[in-house]
């Protein structure tokens, strides 16, 4: 009985339909939260006493950086589930994550660079946080490159899963890089729940942005998941009904 949910999530037609139904439930709240957070972050929040209005980059930089690592963890976990229980759907989730994570890693690096120039005096430094985040981008690109180099989907799923799982060690390195080493990058100021180093007018928009981006990831990954599920189905009878011809 307890395992029925597990089998249902392993069933491609069920997942395909569920993903389609759930997508708007992620997309609309995501859109509303992001628009509200933009207003809060750009208009309502006061300027920073040191960085003036320059700190407002945080409202797009921190959510992008959060996406870059959170999506990686989802990707590596799904890949592990796929590998261990031979679950096609889990592999499909992992494959759906990669382009999303890679794109937000680029966004995190680019916005970080634009923030670093006025505050640190440089666009780039071979700093532990920056270097490990760049490595994350290469892991995503390596994962995607590996997949596209293989025609056999099952083999691509399995081999790329190993890379995704090995690469997950980089995630704690990114996270703790600012405490383990002397980094130019500041330590977290919101993700420590005990006492955020900002007034509510500054961190509430940031939390809304983080939540909005996370929901956005949900909507996009569900859309991509349907495509990835279809790619793994060879002429199954449910496809005609689901896709509609």
């Amino acid at each position: 009985m307890a395992w029925t949910w597990f089998h249902r999530f392993g069933s491609p037609p069920h997942v395909y339909r569920l993903a389609a139904t759930l997508t708007p439930w992620f997309a609309w709240p995501a859109g509303i939260l992001i628009v509200a957070a933009l207003y809060g972050g750009l208009v309502l929040a006061p300027p920073d006493y040191q960085q003036g209005d320059g700190y407002r980059i945080v409202y797009v930089h921190a959510p992008s950086a959060w996406m870059s690592t959170m999506v990686y963890v989802v990707m590596a976990s799904s890949a592990a589930i796929g590998l261990i229980w031979r679950m096609k759907v889990a592999h499909a989730v992992a494959a759906s994550c990669a382009p999303i994570g890679a794109s937000f890693t680029v966004a995190a690096l680019a916005t970080g660079s634009l923030w670093g120039r006025p505050m640190w005096g440089t666009y780039w430094e071979w700093d532990p946080r920056l270097t490990s985040e760049l490595l994350l981008l290469f892991l995503y690109l390596g994962y995607m490159g590996l997949r596209s180099a293989m025609d056999d989907m099952q083999r691509a799923d399995r081999v790329s899963a190993v890379l995704a799982i090995v690469g997950v060690v980089n995630v704690p390195i990114i996270h703790y890089s600012v405490t383990w080493w002397n980094s130019l990058h500041q330590a977290p100021s919101v993700m420590k729940l005990a006492k955020p180093a900002m007034p509510p007018s500054m961190y509430v928009p940031l939390l809304m942005m983080l939540a909005g981006f996370t929901l956005f990831f949900g909507a996009i990954v569900l859309m991509r998941l349907r495509g990835e599920v279809l790619k793994r189905e060879r002429a199954a009878s449910w496809i005609r009904e689901a896709v509609g011809s």
Binding site: I34, L42, V43, P47, G52, D53, G54, R56, I57, V60, H61, P63, S64, P99, I100, S103, F104, V106, A107, A110, T111, L114, W115, R117, P118, F216, I220, M223, R224, R226, G227, E228, L230, K231, E233, R234, A235, I239, R240, V243, S245
Partner: protein, 53 residues
């Protein structure tokens, strides 16, 4: 104008927002395109099988 100037940081703040907006929009576009391609491909495979049998 005050708002657009971002306290002198406009040349760093607005490009950052533009980049992230572009990534968000591209993700929507790429996901839709990827799904549409997979659907078309799945239907094409079904058709081929249908003709063979």
């Amino acid at each position: 104008m005050e708002f657009l100037n971002m306290g002198g940081y406009a040349r760093y703040v607005w490009p950052s927002y533009a980049i992230v907006l572009a990534v968000v929009v591209l993700n929507i576009f790429w996901a839709r395109r990827s799904l549409a391609r997979s659907q078309a491909e799945a239907l094409r495979r079904l058709q081929i099988r249908g003709e063979e049998s």
